[in-house]
């Protein structure tokens, strides 16, 4: 297949899900005639009709709330929340209802909530956030994020097929990177991948920071430092075996995400490594992310978010330990 963007891969994946399973429904704000503000649902309403792909009123809590009712009715809802910073009105429906509904009723909730997330798009407030830790912290949810077009296609297929609720974070700054994809390839939820092999330091990334880590790996090669880059793909469940296997080679780990470091998902990874792989470590696990502030005006986002230089600095620090 020819190279496609991540946006197109997601669009193809949604189209295939609609075609293969009559119970799949797509809905949200502007997903119909417009095709979504990022055009991820482009053309789907035209192909599948306005009862399979439909616009809703502008109300995130009810978007998730009706998804729960539709799931009870036997559908597989795939609602879209337009932007990361707009998911909070739906927080109660996601955390108190969707995540706990099966525990309360025995009724499975095959709901996939798609959410464009992360920064680097020069946007106004509330359009560049990384709220993944809130949801990873919530039992009953699965939280995934692809970093490549191929994974975007396959991981979305896996999320929609999964009988449990999945929060599917799409790294919107990576929507337009291109790659050849193989729609036949499967990516199960909960399996990380080694995006770049190396033996010096492990850089653990997900979503938008994977390409950053790969850029850092490339730059480090010039200094004969071989970074191993792990693309987590899934935050919950978390693939600890892949992380520990890498540490057996490198003995050093840096976690990179766009969210603020304080209370961020990196804390879980660092703590798990300390619990389960303390003897493997030659240096403290470092967390690299944003400062503990609200997302800044767009002009400052390059300074606010992690970049290649900051990863390389942390690599030097890690390597300086015995």
């Amino acid at each position: 297949m020819e190279a496609v963007t991540m946006a197109r891969a997601l669009n193809l994946s949604l189209g295939d899900a609609l075609a293969n399973d009559q119970e799949v429904l797509i809905f949200g704000e502007d997903v119909g005639a417009l095709g979504g503000v990022f055009r991820i649902t482009d053309g789907l309403q035209k192909t599948f009709g306005d009862e399979r792909v439909f616009d809703t009123p502008l109300a995130e809590s009810a978007i998730v709330g009706i998804a729960i009712g539709l799931a009870i009715r036997g559908f597989k809802p795939v609602p879209e929340i337009q932007f990361d910073g707009f998911i909070y009105p739906a927080f109660d429906q996601i955390v108190s209802q969707l995540a706990k509904y099966r525990n309360r009723s025995g009724i499975s909730m095959p709901v996939t909530i798609r959410v464009p997330f992360g920064g680097h798009i020069g946007a106004v407030e509330h359009h560049s956030e990384s709220p993944e830790a809130y949801f990873a912290h919530t039992a009953g949810l699965k939280v995934v994020t692809p970093a490549t077009p191929g994974d975007a296609y396959a991981l979305l297929q896996a999320a929609i097929a999964d009988p449990d609720p999945v929060i599917f974070f799409e790294p919107k700054a990576r929507y337009y990177v291109k790659e050849e994809i193989d729609p036949g390839r499967k990516v199960p939820i909960g399996k990380a991948r080694i995006a770049h092999e190396g033996s010096s330091v492990t850089v653990i990334a997900y979503g938008p920071t994977v390409s950053l880590a790969l850029d850092a790996a490339k730059a480090a090669e010039a200094e004969n430092i071989a970074l191993e880059v792990i693309d987590l793909r899934s935050l919950s469940p978390l693939d600890m075996p892949t992380i520990l296997e890498s540490l057996r080679k490198t003995h050093r780990a840096i976690v990179v995400h766009e969210a603020p470091v304080f209370g961020g998902f990196g804390a879980e990874i660092a703590a798990r490594i300390a619990d389960e792989g303390f003897d493997l470590l030659a240096a403290p696990v470092t967390r690299l992310g944003a400062p503990d502030t609200p997302y800044p005006p767009a002009r400052y986002e390059k300074l606010y978010l992690p970049d290649v230089d900051r990863i390389l600095e942390e690599v030097d620090v890690a390597l300086a330990y015995g």
């Binding site: 009123p57 109300a59 009706i66 009715r73 429906q93 025995g106 009724i107």
Partner: protein, 361 residues
């Protein structure tokens, strides 16, 4: 209720059955089409659910339940609404609809497991078409609308009943759900059990306007009715359901009633409401009122009434015996068992560690 202004709407088969004060007219009552047996059964159900409510309160007072929320005074709504629906119609309750659950055939002793701290979901909602009790106020209302939208997509004739209290109408989820229902013309009946109190906050401090009239702003009709008249509730829900089955869309019924008991056994209503208010409402008791009416129609003989009382006693004794004998699910299953349909590996490992830690203790 003489000061109530009714919403006038075309395509409203509910309103013509009621006076402007929300009372079922004598003519509408005569056209309900319910047999004497069916009319007696409404009474029987009200007596049974009232006795169950009393028994649950007793059990809580004796330390057998952690908490109880009485529905004393709201029996006409519970029985009238459920009786007006078909078995395939789903009901999405909040947390005080124990009587509705009983009307759906759910074993009250099973339900009590929730209040004994044994389970967060002690019955199978799919078997009874009765969604889980929902404790976050208004949280269930969008679920009801989603289910109803799904019924429309499936070209099914079932309708959905969404029930909640007056407090819920202050929540965003209520507004969002009402709005979605109007836009999608969902076959859903919104039934507000306006019992005048949200814990300690009275209706006047909950909302400055009419709840029923708000329906118009969402594009469908609403009506305020006497919620202590079981036949009125039955008639309103029945007609609203028929309308929804025929593609007429949503309907809002605001059934006026009164929470005769405390919010829950943790509450103390003497701190915020007067005895005289309670006395006023006790003269409108839905069970006594309906009994008087049945007797006036010659449809309730003393022997029948006594037999219903005996049935209620037997039910109460059985509830008590069953809940006291209820066994706990093993901890591993109770805590981990239903969280995921496909539990992740790490989750299973955590469960195993948890279970093996219990073996050691």
């Amino acid at each position: 209720m003489a000061d109530v202004v009714q919403v006038v709407s075309t395509d409203d088969p509910v309103r013509p059955q009621f006076s402007s004060a929300g009372e079922l007219t004598a003519e509408a009552r005569s056209r309900l089409g319910l047999s004497a047996d069916a009319l007696r059964d409404l009474y029987r159900k009200m007596v049974l659910i009232r006795r169950a409510d009393q028994e649950a309160l007793n059990l809580q007072r004796q330390g057998e339940l952690g908490l109880w929320g009485q529905y004393l005074g709201q029996e006409a709504i519970h029985v009238g609404a459920v009786s007006a629906l078909e078995a395939e119609d789903w009901i999405f309750p909040s947390y005080r609809e124990f009587g509705m659950a009983m009307c759906r055939g759910i074993d009250p002793a099973d339900m009590l497991k929730l209040f004994r701290g044994l389970s967060v979901g002690p019955y199978d909602p799919k078997k009874f078409h009765f969604a889980p009790l929902t404790i976050v106020v208004a949280g269930q209302i969008p679920h009801a609308v989603g289910y109803a939208i799904g019924s429309r997509f499936k070209r099914s004739r079932d309708v959905t009943l969404s029930t909640f209290g007056d407090g819920a109408t202050s929540k965003g989820d209520w507004h969002e759900a009402m709005n979605f229902a109007g836009v999608f013309k969902a076959p859903v009946i919104f039934l507000c059990q306006n019992n005048h109190w949200a814990i300690s906050v009275p209706l006047a401090k909950q909302t400055a306007g009419s709840i029923a009239e708000r329906a118009q702003g969402y594009g469908f009709p609403g009506i305020r009715i006497d919620g202590n008249d079981v036949l009125g509730v039955y008639a309103a829900v029945r007609r609203a359901a028929e309308r929804a089955r025929d593609g007429g869309g949503p309907y809002l019924i605001e059934a006026m009633t009164y929470r005769m008991g405390a919010h829950t056994t943790s509450d103390d209503p003497t701190r915020y409401r007067t005895q005289s208010e309670l006395e006023t409402w006790s003269t409108k008791d839905p069970v006594a009122r309906y009994r008087t009416w049945l007797e006036s129609q010659g449809m309730l003989e003393e022997a029948t009434r006594a037999s219903i009382e005996r049935e209620a006693e037997t039910l109460a004794q059985s509830m008590r015996a069953k809940i006291r004998a209820a066994t706990a699910t093993p901890a591993g299953e109770a805590i981990f068992g239903r969280v995921y349909a496909h539990p992740p590996e790490g989750f299973q490992e955590e469960r195993e560690e948890f279970e093996s830690s219990l073996e050691g203790s």
